[in-house]
């Protein structure tokens, strides 16, 4: 089979799974739905492997295959195909997404078991995977936007999965609204591209763009910035980041799948995909890189002080995506994608471990209440440490290699790009620190009440169900989290998923070691071979190893500092906190970003809104629109009055019309 056939299979399996579970949920048992869900993704993953195999079979320069199922619309110069593009980039993303999704589905089998909405969950989850893969495999901007919007919807549905929890539905709406802002940016970009280049097909666009646009032509910059709006909204970069932390209201597997491993990386993929455009608009690319850098520092600092376990990991996600955005924007496409993959492994792992711990804490998520889980949950704790080491970039874990590759690329480009390298190492320090803050707080120390209970009885703690954020009492009926909690220690599915990810997080980095192996780089030649940056900026092996050394030292330093503060000398921590309470408050308030948005956007908008409510609503809407409606009604009733039922009246109207037309033609022809 050709690579494109596999491509269609990759898409078909999760779609079929979603439809089957969604349509047949009354007939399917929850077990059957779960197995169907996992099976569909497994088929997708195997197809992705098949696509990889088929792609490696053809020469490098032919590794961009487009296949069109049918032409959706062909009007007035616009030709829109339902087509997919299978190239190394797409296959790489499809492999990562379907592979991690498969493991997360597996984890969910056990984790969500006692939830009333078990079947709904798998239908949504499969639909999400389908949308994400559609976004990845799309062969043109229109299909990309379709996938993009579907993903946004899936994210909304899954964040609000516990739909009777008010905080969850509010978070879902927030995520959806911000995502729609991004969609608009993307749609505008596609319209501009269509107007300028007369096509929305990737390959045609990338082919025509260099002839059509001069470097840094304003239109090209505008297009790239609009694409960035889409990318930033989906990838939770400044200033569109506020939804991601709230999105942690969703079930933990959702956080792992959507808000760590896959959906939020769509922006990175998009920039990598559109790299020929960004290389024509270096200014836009630089802006994107700066946004990435700012986000990575910002989110890293916030993660230092947040106390909600899942939110710490969420801020860490923003920060790590900042690295990737920075990487693909400065031209380190391979490195950016490499980090995307390793991040998917270790971040999904961290979320899974967090989920297991939260289950043991009876849904409470505050790390201040957690301690001493190392003895209570050795498996979970062990993998939490593995994930944290990978996140902290500790050698030889996967994050160690991938993160440094981005930073040395920046250093190698030199000039102002040094800022990205230095900023990146600062960020790496923060990362290592906060990731071990979690480890030291959660795993070490005397066991907390819940950990104690687990050790004593072997059963996870149980409390009255309540909302972890607002503390409101809750039900366990449909629309709320299930009655029982499931921990990795007691479920082989969760163990298997976490164990696999643990191995990947440990070894995933080895596919690309400077001077030793460069599997990824040569694989990506098929997608990025046309890029000037990708081919000319070659990092010498020596520099790369120097970068790795700095990275390792940074990580070690940060981890030992964390150890000092959280284990050896806790009084120092209290002292620091007391002395720098202002900084702490500033960070804990997330740099007052929500307040800033409130002041800058929300308030002026509501003021405008009030104005329009008072003025426009009454005069414009009430007057013009209301007037129009009244006029339409009036004419409607007039038309009906003319329909008097009198046959002779009809004949008269007909005759009048005839005379009128006759007169017109007489005049027109004379």
């Amino acid at each position: 089979m050709s690579a494109t056939t596999y491509g269609w299979l990759i898409l078909a399996a999760p779609l079929a799974g979603s439809i089957t579970i969604g349509a047949g949920w009354r007939k399917l048992s929850p077990q059957a739905a779960g197995i169907l869900g996992v099976g569909a993704i497994a088929v997708s993953f195997l197809s992705a492997l098949g696509a990889l195999w088929a792609l490696l079979d053809v020469p490098v320069e032919e590794r961009q295959m487009v296949d069109s199922l049918y032409t959706y619309a062909d009007l007035g110069g616009i030709k829109i195909d339902l087509s997919i593009l299978v190239d190394p980039l797409a296959v790489f993303m499809a492999l990562t997404v379907s592979g991690v999704s498969m493991l997360i589905h597996l984890y969910s089998l056990a984790y969500m078991r006692s939830d009333e909405g078990y079947r709904r969950f798998f239908a949504y989850l499969n639909f999400f995977v389908f949308s994400m893969l559609l976004l990845i495999l799309a062969g043109n901007f229109v299909l990309l936007i379709v996938g993009w919007a579907f993903v946004g919807y899936a994210s909304y549905a899954l964040i609000s999965f516990w739909y009777r929890r008010n905080t969850a539905t509010a978070a879902g709406m927030k995520a959806f609204v911000i995502n729609v802002v991004g969609d608009i940016g993307l749609v505008l970009a596609a319209i501009l591209l269509l107007r300028e280049l007369g096509s929305v097909d990737y390959l045609t666009v990338f082919d025509r763009a260099p002839q059509h646009f001069a470097v840094n032509q304003p239109t090209a910059i505008a297009i790239c910035l609009l694409i960035c709006v889409g990318a930033f909204a989906k990838s939770a970069q400044l200033p569109f980041h506020t939804w991601l932390a709230d999105a942690m209201e969703g079930p933990t597997p959702v956080s792992a799948l959507i808000h760590a491993a896959t959906m939020v990386t769509a922006g990175v993929y998009l920039i990598a995909r559109a790299h020929p455009l960004f290389e024509l608009a270096p200014t836009a690319a630089d802006i994107a890189a700066f946004v990435g850098l700012t986000t990575l520092i910002f989110a890293g600092t916030v993660a230092l002080v947040v106390t909600d376990l899942k939110r710490i990991i969420a801020y860490s996600t923003m920060s790590q995506i900042g690295y990737m955005i920075m990487g693909v924007s400065i031209g380190a496409y391979g490195a950016g994608m490499f980090h995307l993959m390793t991040h998917a492994f270790f971040k999904a792992l961290l979320f899974m471990a967090a989920g297991s711990i939260i289950a043991a804490m009876a849904s409470r998520q505050n790390i201040d209440r957690m301690s001493g889980f190392a003895r209570a949950m050795p498996f979970t704790s062990g993998l939490l440490v593995v994930g944290s080491l990978a996140l902290a970039g500790f050698p030889p874990f996967s994050g160690f290699f991938s993160k440094d590759e981005i930073l040395v690329f920046a250093a190698e480009r030199g000039g102002m790009y040094w800022i990205f390298a230095i900023g990146g190492y600062v960020g790496a320090f923060l990362t290592a620190f906060y990731s071990f803050r979690i480890v030291f707080r959660v795993c070490f120390g005397d066991p907390c009440e819940e950990a104690e209970e687990l050790i004593r009885t072997g059963l996870p703690a149980h409390g009255p169900p309540e909302n972890p954020v607002s503390g409101e009492p809750e039900d366990v009926a449909v629309g709320f989290p299930g009655a029982d909690h499931h921990i990795a220690e007691k479920n082989w599915e969760m163990k298997l998923a976490m164990g696999t990810l643990g191995v990947l997080a440990l070894l995933g980095g080895l596919i690309q070691i400077p001077g030793v192996s460069h599997l990824l780089e040569s694989f990506f030649d098929g997608s990025f071979g046309d890029s000037k940056l990708y081919t000319t900026v070659q990092v010498p092996t020596g520099t790369a190893w120097a970068g790795l050394l700095i990275g390792a030292l940074t990580s070690l330093l940060a981890i030992s500092l964390a150890h000092h503060l959280y284990i050896s000398d806790r009084s120092l921590l209290a002292r620091i906190r007391a002395e720098s309470s202002q900084i702490h408050d500033f960070l804990a308030a997330k740099w007052y970003f929500d307040e800033l948005l409130d002041l800058l956007i929300y308030r002026p908008l509501t003021a405008v809104g009030r104005f329009f409510d008072g003025f426009a609503e009454r005069w414009v809407v009430g007057g013009v629109v209301g007037g129009t409606v009244a006029v339409v009604r009036r004419f409607g009733s007039l038309t009906r009055t003319a329909q008097s039922g009198y046959l002779r009246f009809y004949a008269a109207v007909l005759s009048t019309g005839t005379v009128g037309l006759g007169l017109y033609f007489l005049i027109a022809s004379s």
């Binding site: 009906r640 329909q643 008097s644 039922g645 009198y646 046959l647 002779r648 008269a652 005759s655």
Partner: protein
Amino acid sequence: MSTEWYLVLSALLFSTGAVGVLIRRSPLVILLCLELMLNSSNLALLAFSRAHGNADGQVFALVVMVVAACEVVVGLGLIVAMYRRNLPLDVDEARVLRK
């Protein structure tokens, strides 16, 4: 006599028919008036046929006569059906369907 006069007569007949349809209330008379309109067309067709010196118009007129007969048959059939149901034979009364 030139063609114009035939046309004037035909136009007069057509208008008479049309006015008849508009002002008479009995369906029977209306049917008659419709016949008048069709026949005024026939007159015009024949006049043009003569003027152009070809037979197309005459053939057309013959066809029209057949068609006119069909229309009348259907019309009378409907009127008989209405009569048998004791519905008033007045088109102004036929206004159950309106608005």
